[in-house]
């Protein structure tokens, strides 16, 4: 058998050209028993780490390189033979990336020559062989002597013998060597259709129009050595040379072993020594009354482990960032596997006191895998940029960059693009993409296709679906990761190509987080979290108005009143546990201590829900079911959670302890779940897992549940340490809400957009807790919401919340600040706001619309009339943006000089005010829209939210009505739809079963004002109305407004888990 290595192959990171995943290409090469494979994507190294990982798994020799395409179209695959040459290749690509727009790479042939040292070049001949090509091959051969090859491909174009003869001659004349290749675009000819589809997507045409854009045949696939030997029988040396190249290349990605930057370690100290010194010093600060013994023991143990694994630099690097944040008073909280250790608590990386939670550190730093620990740090979302800039300045842009995120084809996009190429009308593709729920998991049920009004027997549709499924998970382009920083000691652009990000002045590298993980490079995630901003602002308000200084770590711990509040599901606005699902869990779980919150956070997640672990846990907790363990080994794993696996690492531990996985396999399983990359491999894992557990004597049913849970964990799993970090923020935000609801309200409004609730519900909740909330006003409001002195007789002496101008839609912050700055002792009338602050008239009009002139005696309509008359009528509608010229020309009293005849305007009704309040500040303090319909509703027998809490109504048939706040169809709920309604007394939770939904589809999906008739289902404090009939009352809302403004939908856009008709969660 002939030996042969295929050295010109690409992956789907040659965007819209390559039609196979890296693991498919590499896997097929191994299957065909090739001596090696070279992966060279078009001007990028983005796919090589995946190929590297796949090659290790498949056990085949891999050459890592890129297919260089110069500005004028000269192509050559380039393989660095050593680390230095690899650095030159990276720099060439970086140069090409940085000088042009995102997604392109531009360099000249001359620049390519400059990087030639140490490279293997395989020139790829065009069909015609112009003299320029020949000259360039000769130039390459001079620059890379004995390392320049000419690719010969058996093309099946009819005249191969002549062609190969010509190439052989050309090679000889130019000093290059002929090399047999297939120039593989895909691993197997079955991918020819997908390759054609990709071509059409790239060329923006349909298959019918494509013509010669497509290749004539399907020969661009990997071929076995024997076939190559047959095709190149006249040129045997061209085959043998592939092995020479394998021999010449010594470079492997394994050489990029990570070198930690030096900055965090002061000169003259060892990393471990410095870390220990720091830890003990800071421990004194954390425990001013003396370090408790068991904490001391913990620290000692952890430091020993860190020393053993040589991770001190990693912890110091994270500490360095956190220290910067603390200096700048930016709130932060670490999470991730290693974040909640005693060392991290001392270093300030986490505020979770190791005395409050018992997390086994070594469980998360796997000595066996030798991977760096994983710590992500959340920062206040409004101030994260400062942290990013700090990293850039500390490590310079040459050594710090953000990872990329690979944007993959998702079902909707895949169907749309394939449909377009197949020539389907947009109508049909839209219909098809409506039923993509579950695509990628096998066949789409015929019934679903029919439901979308399409013919399931239509072969074009089936072909479209099939191709879309193949396209699924293909990379589309690279985007910037939200905050994953890579830091190196040497130049980063000699390790990986750097490219321009979409954001100005940002660059990112071509590799994503998984690539960095796989190579074991140092990464630190600098993330943004809205709740940290909110907590920071609340802490500042409390400090300013009540003189009480707090930090995350010093908020009084284990306050029973806080837990009592949470047990009542009184958690609007609180971090994580404010969703409807969490709210109905709180009263059942009855959290009474910090660890209960950790469980609360972890349990309402797709993993435990899909694994059907929630109810067993609740039953055991309430003592209805005995706590037992499937086996003694699992007792160690499941002890803390009453024998029910709830955390991600417990599921992984089960795969090791019970199903016999190696830790490496368990980790691969976790990764396989997290991405689309290994669709298809999940099945083999499943079999291995369940068989493994059965072999070890576990029940099949339990094994299957465990596996479903792992599947659910996939992207959304919470490890225990992560849940603990979140639980801390749950506790802190709850504590603030319980003791300073006014500060909490102002802070969360000032941190929008964030969280689950819109300002209207947050304000409503605050008012229900006795907070005095005041309307925005030009004489009292800042940009932010503020706390004001309480009304004289109010008791207790709790501040009132003054809504800020930030709530006014379309009001720019700059204008608001100008109004505040020029306010002095206050504005006496409307024109003086304009003349003194110098803001555009459009801003004054926004303020008028928001009804912010009450303090000068004008309601919104009067103010609007006055605004339009500003400047004595000089300003016409078209000149609204004009700014006044204060002092000389226009004086505040100009209006009086030209006495205007008075105009009588109709009185604004309360209903009109409420509608305008909602459409201008998204809430109203004057009334709730439903109040206006109450009489009518009562006449129809509709009861209020307050009334439906009556215990006597349990199981009874009722009518309720309200404005729709949320519609959700959780993926875990098997088609059930949850609707939250709001009336003037509170909220009402509605459950719509699929059958009822089918009958009332339109109403359920579109009604804004909804009446529901159904039965009340009650479990303690959790109440649902099970809908039987739904009536759309939206039309009535029209009567409220003035015909201009309509009550806007109260559904908050982009709310986590919310479900709008357009959301892909549907169907």
């Amino acid at each position: 058998m002939t030996a042969f290595a295929e050295l010109v192959a690409c992956t789907n990171f040659s965007f819209l050209r390559g039609a196979s995943h890296a693991h498919e290409m590499v896997g097929q090469a191994a299957e065909l028993k090739l001596a090696g494979i070279g992966i060279a994507d078009r001007n990028t190294l983005a796919g090589v780490v995946r190929a590297h990982v796949a090659a290790k798994e498949a056990g085949i020799r891999l050459l890592v390189g890129a297919r260089l395409v110069t500005r004028d179209g000269f192509e050559a695959a380039c393989y660095p033979t050593d680390r230095a040459a690899y650095g030159r290749l990276c720099r060439l690509l970086t140069l090409g990336n940085r000088r042009t727009v995102k997604g392109q790479c531009e360099f000249s042939f001359e620049e390519m020559l400059e990087a030639a040292e140490g490279q293997i070049f395989i020139a790829i001949p065009p069909p015609a062989l112009p003299s320029l090509f020949k000259e360039r091959v000769a130039a390459l051969a001079r620059a890379a002597r004995k390392r320049t090859y000419l690719a010969a491909r058996f093309e099946y174009r009819g005249r191969e013998r002549q062609r190969l003869g010509m190439l052989s001659e050309l090679a000889e004349e130019s000093g290059a060597r002929l090399l047999a290749t297939t120039d593989a675009l895909y691993h197997h000819p079955i991918r020819k259709p997908l390759a054609d589809v990709l071509t059409c997507i790239r060329e923006k045409c349909t298959l019918a129009e494509a013509g010669y854009r497509l290749s004539a045949n399907a020969e661009w696939h990997l071929k076995p050595a024997d076939e190559i030997a047959r095709l190149f029988a006249d040129h045997p040396h061209a085959i043998a040379r592939s092995l020479d190249i394998l021999e010449q290349v010594t470079f492997s990605l394994d050489e990029l072993r990570y070198e930690y930057p030096d900055e965090p370690v002061p000169a003259g100290k060892t990393p471990q020594g410095y870390l220990e010194e720091l830890t003990w010093t800071l421990a004194q600060e954390r425990y001013p009354d003396g370090i408790p013994d068991h904490v001391r023991a913990l620290i000692t143990k952890e430091l020993a482990l860190i020393a053993e694994l040589d991770y001190a630099r990693y912890f110091l690097t994270v500490y360095d960032v956190v220290r910067f944040a603390r200096e700048k008073e930016i709130l932060c909280q670490g999470r991730g596997s290693a974040a909640n250790s005693a060392v991290c608590f001392c270093l300030g990386i986490t505020a979770v006191d190791p005395t409050r939670i018992n997390v086994l550190f070594e469980r998360f730093i796997s000595a066996e895998r030798r991977e760096p620990p994983d710590i992500d740090v959340d920062f206040e979302h409004e101030r994260r940029e400062e942290v990013i800039q700090y990293l850039y300045s500390r490590y310079t842009r040459e050594r710090a960059a953000i990872c990329s995120t690979v944007i993959h084809y998702r079902p909707r996009m895949a169907i749309r693009e394939v449909g377009k190429v197949m020539g389907l009308k947009e109508d049909v593709t839209a219909g098809l993409s409506g039923l993509i729920w579950g695509i990628g998991e096998g066949e789409i049920p015929t019934a679903h296709i029919q439901e979308a009004g399409l013919d399931p027997a239509n072969p074009v549709l089936l072909q479209t679906i099939d191709l879309a499924q193949q396209l699924l998970g293909f990379p589309r382009h690279l985007s910037q990761h939200v905050g994953g920083f890579v830091l190196t000691r040497e130049r980063l652009d000699e390790t990986v190509p750097v490219l321009n990000a979409a954001m100005e002045d940002r660059t990112n590298i071509e590799w994503d987080k998984d690539d960095i993980d796989a190579l074991g490079m140092l990464k630190i995630d600098v993330l943004a979290l809205g709740m940290l901003t909110c907590i920071r602002k609340a802490i500042d308000l409390i400090n300013r108005h009540y003189g009480k200084a707090l930090t995350l770590a010093t908020v009084p711990a284990e306050d029973p009143e806080v837990y009592a509040m949470l047990c009542r599901a009184d958690s609007v606005g609180v971090f994580q546990v404010e969703s409807r699902a969490q709210m109905s869990m709180l009263p059942r779980l009855q959290p009474r201590c910090f660890y209960d919150l950790v469980i609360e956070v972890a349990i309402v997640r797709p993993g435990p829900i899909q694994g059907d672990m929630v109810h067993p846990y609740l039953r055991r907790r309430s003592g209805q079911e005995q706590v037992e363990y499937p086996s003694p080994e699992l007792k160690a794993v499941l002890d803390k959670t009453l024998g029910v696996p709830l955390f991600q690492e417990q599921a992984m531990q089960i795969s090791i302890v019970a199903a016999g996985f190696t830790p490496g396999e368990a980790d691969r399983l976790r990764r396989a779940m997290a991405t689309f990359r290994h669709v298809g491999t999940i099945h083999s894992f499943r079999e291995k897992f369940i068989n493994g557990m059965i072999r070890n004597g576990y029940q099949q049913e339990f094994a299957e549940r465990c596996f479903s849970q792992i599947e659910g964990f996939g992207e959304y799993g919470f490890p225990e340490s992560h849940a603990a970090s979140f639980a801390l923020l749950v506790y802190v935000s709850s504590w603030i809400k319980r003791h300073y609801p006014e500060a909490f309200c102002a802070a969360i409004l000032n941190s929008q957009p964030m969280g689950f609730y819109a300002p209207a519900q947050l304000v409503r909740d605050a008012r229900e807790h006795g907070v005095d909330v005041r309307h925005p006003d030009i004489n009292h409001s800042d940009w932010d919401c503020t706390l004001e002195e309480p009304a004289g007789d109010a008791s207790p002496q709790r501040c009132a919340v003054r809504l800020g101008m930030r709530l006014i839609m379309g009001a720019p912050e700059k204008s608001a600040q100008a109004i505040v700055a020029a306010r002095g002792k206050g504005y006496a009338d409307l024109p003086s706001v304009w003349t003194r602050s110098g803001v555009p008239v459009s801003m004054i009009e926004r303020l008028a619309d928001a009804d912010a002139f009450r303090s000068v005696g004008l309601d919104r309509r009067e103010a609007l009339w006055a605004v339009r008359g500003l400047g004595g009528g000089i300003l016409q509608a078209g000149a609204k943006r004009a700014t006044p010229k204060p002092s000389l020309v226009t004086r505040p009293d100009m209006g009086d000089l030209f006495d205007e005849p008075s105009v009588s305007l109709p009185q604004t009704t309360l209903g009109e005010h409420v509608v305008h309040d909602y459409s201008n500040i998204a809430l109203s303090l004057k009334a709730h829209p439903i109040e206006f319909f109450r009489e009518d509703l009562s006449a129809r027998g509709v009861i209020t939210s307050a009334e439906h809490w009556d215990e006597a109504l349990k199981g009874r048939f009722v009518r309720v009505a309200g404005l729709v706040l949320v519609r959700q169809q959780p993926g875990t709920a098997k088609g059930v739809i949850f609707i939250t309604l709001e009336d003037e007394t509170g909220i009402i939770n509605i459950v719509v079963w699929p059958k009822v939904f089918a009958r009332n589809r339109r109403t359920v999906m579109s009604a804004q004002f909804l009446e529901v008739r159904g039965r009340i289902e009650r479990d303690g404090l959790v109440i649902h109305v099970i809908a039987e009939q739904l009536i759309d009352l939206t039309g009535r809302l029209r009567a409220l407004g003035d015909g201009e403004a309509h009550l806007p939908s109260l559904e908050k856009e982009h709310r986590e888990g919310s479900w709008k008709p357009k959301s892909r969660d549907f169907h």
Binding site: R157, G158, R159, P193, L207, A218, A430, G434, A877, D1042
Partner: protein
Amino acid sequence: MGDLLSNARSKVLDLQCRDADPAADRKALEKLALWAMRYSPTVAVWDEISGADGFFIEVEGSAHLFGGEACLLRNLQQRLQTFGLFPRLAVAGTAGASWAMARFGAAESAIVENGAERSAIESLPVDSLRLTQGARSLLRRLGLRRVSQVIDQPRAPFASRFDAEYLRKLDQALGRQCEPLVPIVPAPLYHAQTQFLEPILSADHVLIAARHLLDRLCSQLADDAVGARVLRLMLFQVDGDVKSLELGLAAASRDPEHMARLIGLRLERLAGAFDTEFGFEAAALHALTVEPFAARQSSLGMGEAGASAESLAGLIDRLQQRLGPGAVRQLHPAMSHVPERAEVAGAVALQELPKEKMSAEMEENLPSAPRPLLLLPRPEAAEVMALIPDGPPRRFRWRGVMHQVTAAEGPERITPQWWERSGELERDYYLVEDSEGRRFWLFRHGHYAADTPPGWFVHGLFP
């Protein structure tokens, strides 16, 4: 309304949807407006602000032809209804008031007496004033909903708060200010029109009617001592279509006989295309250009251009005239790898057709092996001896004759257009030369597999 299509689709599963086509709407409206010229030469289509779904007809001078405004409205309404439309009509002294009544009036058709515009529109919403979006929105926000609430307000404060259009539109509706209409077809200088009791069908009858109109028109021309240079005859079909003939006269004329002759000649020439299937129910004659009649007549002896030389074009024209369209065809190249798809017989184009632009990559995929001069209409089966897996034929029998292959090139491999699901297999083409020097293009359909041997076909011949 105002919903995203995808939202609407998820609410109504079997939603039917069509793209909005404002251009087509506009065209249909203009066609209808042309038709309405049977009532008056001045018809003005509404603009965007007015709603782009209607038009004004200036009936002041022509209502009497239809027996007064009420009869005209009835007539118009009935006819529009026969087109399947649901018209809302109003007659008023001002364009603004008629618009307001048509849009917002209670009745499907209304007549506002002159001077009664104010009382007619007072109770209507302010939207009936044809105001700009900005003005409408401001009025609503000020709580001013009815025309009566704004009609007597002091003017100065409103002038300073609204765009200039606001007071103008208000004044125009009330007749305080005139409103010029922009007709769809420029109003002719002189015109005559007539209705037929029975739709007329033949060209002869058209000519008689035209003659009748010419008499009336020419007397108008005579009054002003001018003659017509350009005439337009408009014929209004029962189905709403309008046929329009324009004819230029070499010299000004007001001789009805002469002009009738010209019209007759034109009608004769149009004979075939002049489809009177539905019949005409009205006609109008316009004089578009006139000159003082004293102008000197020029000589009629303009020599015709010499007959052009016989050209290919002429030949093709005559062949096509004689043999029918489509009898003469030309092969055009088409972009396909499948040889029988790579040429398409189509209409003759004497000029070089603009070639589809080819990118460098398309050129790379262009077939490089030669194509036969004659491609058989259908591949013909042949018995072939060849080496597996993809050797060229050694010898083959085709149409009963055995050919010994002495030289061969290939294979050229062509994959079928998979998306057509034709059951086609991959083909390997070979160019072979037999011992007599004849050259053939053969292909193997499919590959040698275990059970069924692939078929061989002759697909073309080289010279």
